[in-house]
Subunit: 432 residues, 4 copies
């Protein structure tokens, strides 16, 4: 999956391309706050997509909308040279915002499981969209400084792990040129101003399971006439903890999270069923298989222990492969970023347990991927928490109702990182 | 609370009063199916109340509507003599019906906790309303056969344990005469045609608790940065099982049910909170205190075990006292019913773990209560299950999505029991 | 099982028989302290049996030793009249005494499961032996006051539930006359001076299960290479709590106790197996069957959940039937005791969850049983705790390391109760 | 901790030193079987120590016995040159052997906690002792081939993590020369013939906790009068699973094992206390602190949840630091071993979760450590299991009752590895 060694031409001058950025930042910040205020769930990103399409068209890109549902792709052909694909994801999450920000979301939804919830950009995809719009803009404005082709992809439904595949299945690579490399970034609870690159397996694979535990409902005062699915669910959740604690070696890694547990409507009615949403992270097939096998074994045994009238129903949902950064290309991008930002601002965060479907775009094209973390946290607060050993407690993680990247210097850093990494792949125009 | 011994006059002739019942039964069955098709949650029983008010007025009762919200009371003064209060409850439950009946409910609701659910008469209050309408009708038609005053009360919100008190607080006993006795019945998973009376404590007291367990949300792949309320809730539910298993003596009785457990919206988001609806049954204050104390102790300790950032919030909800049937009056009613139905059809079911707020009407009036169970199950199926030892599995209990009393002979038995027990308290008119 | 109505002759004069008791009490107290200091486990009661045999022989009884292992039976024929069998049990328990008494036990043992423990009369069988020796003595001294036959049985291994059967199987009723009634008593955490009789089912049935959970051992640092039986056992114990909390109706009663849980020898070695000792109490066959079935279902499912390499091994141990006091005979004995002690000292404690194999002696003889509780607690402390609602906490129950009946007035009351209840069944001699 | 770069002289000729090994192997195998048959627990290794001392003396070593209790050190001064310390540990474990080997142990013990158990070399220290005796022997026989000083240390009580420190505290480095490097090996479930070296942190740190959960005992039929420590212990064990599953990041590693859980003596006695032996593995202080803190938090909260009359008692036991192999010296030894065995037989197993106190000997001397894994498993069986993905199930791990290294080629490989790694550090004699 590595590219052949190339005879490198002159790298385009990033200073020229980035010159207008300071004047554009206030507008980007407005865009960011607007997106944050209007989060849209997976495959419902119509407002976001319309905004993206309009901005790309205005910047001179050929725009393809409705790719894979609500996805948008823009192409800027600019002479001979390599083709670079930059990707951002657009969807938000069913989380009720609790940031206290003036531009906090008040959007509400009812999930497919009938749960009422707020909707929130709790994973920073609004940062991703804004930074890529900024990068697309300055790269278009500065097109005299580089030669090649730029493809920008705004993907739906990353949170479901299906959006990238949906765009590919819908003919993305018939609409846009096949790139030489795929680049992208994800905002993370790291000090703003920092970038994090890890070569090799960098993000975990993820599997989603929907589990229905079937009991037999009845009156809350007569449990003996029921099979109580609430107790069955509770015991199942506790037993699932033993997978990571007892069945995964210290040298391996996995995460098993029950993020959703729903049973019953009223205290004095024992319901018929309980429903669990389970998320599994792993970095390799052996551990993945063992964990998925253990979940199935435990869930069935818990139903048997409870005397359930029917076996549980386990429905596999999304499945993300691990994200693997091409080692050689990652080192090349690290060097380019370090040259711009200083080596101390380009850290190696190790493999993270988050998952991403961006690798689908690279794999489908048969090209390497380089994907990095973009620090989003107020550095003073972040380093103070790190010093005090309270990072986990004080720095809200992605998906938290309090997830709130600071726009400055996050947006500026995000745009600059995309531009620098892209120009490193493009060519200076003849005579530049 | 017992009434003084009375010199009994002649008991009115029930045969006379019940003569029109066979002709009325088809209409009562239509009413029953109509009510079953249109269940209404607590304090939303407007359609039911309107139907009740119209029928009572047509039968000649003075009608008071809107008592305690949606309650209806009717009064039929009919000469000198005692006053008997008959009570039915009107509300349905947030249960999604699964009976397959042609007149099954398709009504839907979203609960205050944001859970979508069907609405269903899963506790048979439609039977209670229909039977009391039938009894009110024949007693009015046959008023020449008795002397005294009849009060019929159709109560809202029994399921919340607050409807009877709401009617009393709203001035019920300023609107209707204070009765000499309160009578009523509850349909139960017992063979239709049977009646069940138990003297003394007959229904359990109930307490409802809403419990919010506060964790700290975040990304499903980074549990170490969260305090997982799903695991906290699961462990709490399991630990609550130890109250009945370890803290209540074999000679005492209590039930602790978590009928509602809700946490999270999506598999890969660890939520901030989990919510539990807990229902407690007990028959005496010592056990009740110990159980409620143990719940509080356990819930707080589970939060401490999890390292919760905030203590849990335990909000007491409804609280039903135990229902105590006046011993002497119960024996008197048992004798009257046995004389009509045969002694073998009037069983003693013992104390049941269900709860009822009907006793509030008696206590507020300072008079005795007699409340009985009305069998609602197909006798063939019921006795076969009893024979096979599968009653608990095959006979759906109250609050089950499959709770389905058979209209025949349940309605006929219910009307007859109310009429017979009432006439036993009234007087024959002079010269009768 | 009731005896035919009898034409009662004159009841022997208890005052005459009990006259020497005050002078004998200091010696009885010495005997009690000696027995307490020298507890012997089930079927090892050789020292106790030797002491009993010697005292009975000295009092004029025909003595049969070694009946059913270590059991002793004494017979005193004294003319025409009924035959009464009085029973005491002799065995102690593997409990490490923590009473602080000057005559506390320091005896040690290693159980069959390899557990080191103290040995203690933690169930008061030393009281039973002493009181019966006292009663046998005064009844023999006062034999001129009564006519009939007395059989006194000192039984081994009540704690295993097999000692009474062992004596019967070893030919007890070939050695001693078949009695007309079996009487006995058990010291209990009730105020000393009180007696407790309950007609009908008075003590629970008990079943004992030995459960081996088979995992696969290994190094404590590599759980992934093992199947951890400690976690399997822990989960099983918690799941067993749901039987009583969810599968036994509020109106029924059962107890499921895991009194022994043993797994492993060292923190860093995951063992191959865990061993549980489970004790079940119930009052009827339906509940008993459901509970035993649930245990089997849960234990197998827990092994399946853990991925156990072998199914668990469940070995049934002792099984006690419920103890049923003959209703008519119980009322007769209650009257006799009330006449002696005053009615307020003869209470009805209801059914208790303890178990007893004394009923085997009555059933094998086809005669009725009357068995009562003998209060053993300092009345001041007991009533104060009852007043404060702290009985459960402050009054050590049987089997507690702090179980310590007060010798006075417990021994005196115990002897007197046995004598009075016995004389009530015997006849006054001709001319008395 | 790295040694300064050295001008290397000629390495001694290992072929010469190892020449007698084939003839010595049958005797070594006898020694191994003899040691295996006679395992001795920590600080009780008197028979082993006597055998070691006799063999070392016979081979010409100056022997120091009784160092740090039962430890033995031998010194062979052999001219100018570096000093190398080779270490083996001698103690066995309270595990009941289940290997079926003809030389299986039948030794029994009763632990300090009163548990009866077999005693077994379940961690292969018998291999370590045998291989080091073999290496000491051939190095002594071949002393003409090298120059320098050899120190061989046979350490007690590695399993307690205190034996190395005990020898240091008892003046080991006053008795023997301070070495330039410490070398050693541990047999592991890896194919025999293979060696495993990992530079940097190679073995986890370990902490041991003894936890006493205090309840209040009583009769098994009256749990309401007790605080059941068996249920408390079960819930604690399950809750401890959440530490690794929820509080340790996927990128970090920890193990929390409850290897010993003991409560109660008999099914119908609820005991006063339960006792847990907990073992914790971690690779860095941050994770270690969080895990130990979580254990304390959970254990106290579980006692609070149970309403325990006293707080639990947590007693810290052994604490091993992580074992860190000096990176440069490890690579040097890897090269030496690869030159002898072929590179494909010297694998990098990564960090393992086992713990070792050998580093105490290096740290106390202020010199580097190189410690490797010695494969002990039948290669055919091992590779077949690896192929089938059943390694965890089919290859017994250390501390398993079925832990059984194959003597051939394990002993030969072990002796050779020690000799080669040692000679690599010594000098060839002048003129060699």
């Amino acid at each position: 999956m590595t590219t052949p060694p190339v005879v490198r031409g002159t790298v385009p001058d990033a200073d020229v391309v980035l010159a207008p950025l300071p004047d554009l930042l206030p507008g980007l910040r407005e865009t960011y706050e607007d997106l944050h205020r209007h989060p849209e769930l997976s495959y419902q990103e119509t407002r976001t997509a319309a905004l993206v399409a309009e901005r790309l068209a205005a910047a001179g890109y050929v725009v393809h909308s409705g790719v894979g549902g609500t996805g948008v792709a823009g192409v800027l052909g600019n002479g001979v040279g390599p083709c670079v694909l930059l990707r951002a994801d657009m969807d938000a999450l069913p989380v009720t915002e609790d940031t206290g920000l003036p531009y906090a979301s008040t959007v509400r939804t009812t999930t497919a499981d009938g749960i009422e919830s707020g909707v929130m950009h709790a994973c920073g995809h609004d940062v991703h969209v804004t930074a890529l719009l900024g990068a697309a803009d300055v790269l278009a404005r500065g097109r005299s400084a580089w030669s090649g082709t730029l493809v920008v992809v705004f993907q739906p439904a990353e949170e479901l792990g299906t959006g990238a595949q949906a765009m590919v299945d819908d003919g993305l690579y018939d609409l846009v040129p096949r790139p030489d490399i795929v680049l992208g970034q994800h905002v993370a609870p790291v000090a703003a101003g920092l970038l994090g690159l890890h070569a090799g397996p960098a993000f975990a694979g993820a599997d989603v399971l929907d589990i229905r535990l079937v009991g037999r409902g009845g009156h809350g005062s007569r449990p003996e006439a029921t099979v109580d699915p609430v107790v069955m669910a509770a015991s199942t959740v506790l037993k699932l903890q033993t997978i990571v604690s007892r069945e995964v070696a210290a040298g391996d890694a996995a995460v098993v999270t029950v993020g959703r547990l729903q049973a019953g409507t009223k205290d004095n009615i024992i319901p018929d069923e309980a429903s669990l949403g389970v998320n599994v992270r792993s970095f390799g097939e052996a551990v993945r298989s063992r964990v998925l096998g253990a979940i199935e074994r435990i869930v069935h045994a818990e139903a048997a222990a409870a005397g359930a009238p029917e076996p549980p129903r386990i429905t596999p949902g999304e499945s993300f492969p691990p994200l693997v950064n091409d080692p050689a290309e990652t080192e090349r991008t690290r060097a380019a970023l370090a040259a711009r930002f200083g080596a101390e601002r380009v850290i190696d965060p190790g493999a993270v347990s988050g998952s991403e479907d961006v690798s689908v775009l690279a794999t489908a094209a048969g090209v390497p991927l380089v994907y990095w973390l973009l620090g989003g946290w107020d550095p003073a607060a972040f380093f103070a928490a790190e010093q005090a050993g309270t990072t986990d407690r004080d720095i809200p993680s992605n998906h938290s109702p309090r997830f709130a990247p600071v726009p400055h210097p996050t947006l500026e850093t995000g745009v600059t990182a995309l531009v620098v990494a892209t120009l490193d792949r493009l060519e200076a125009p003849d005579g530049a």
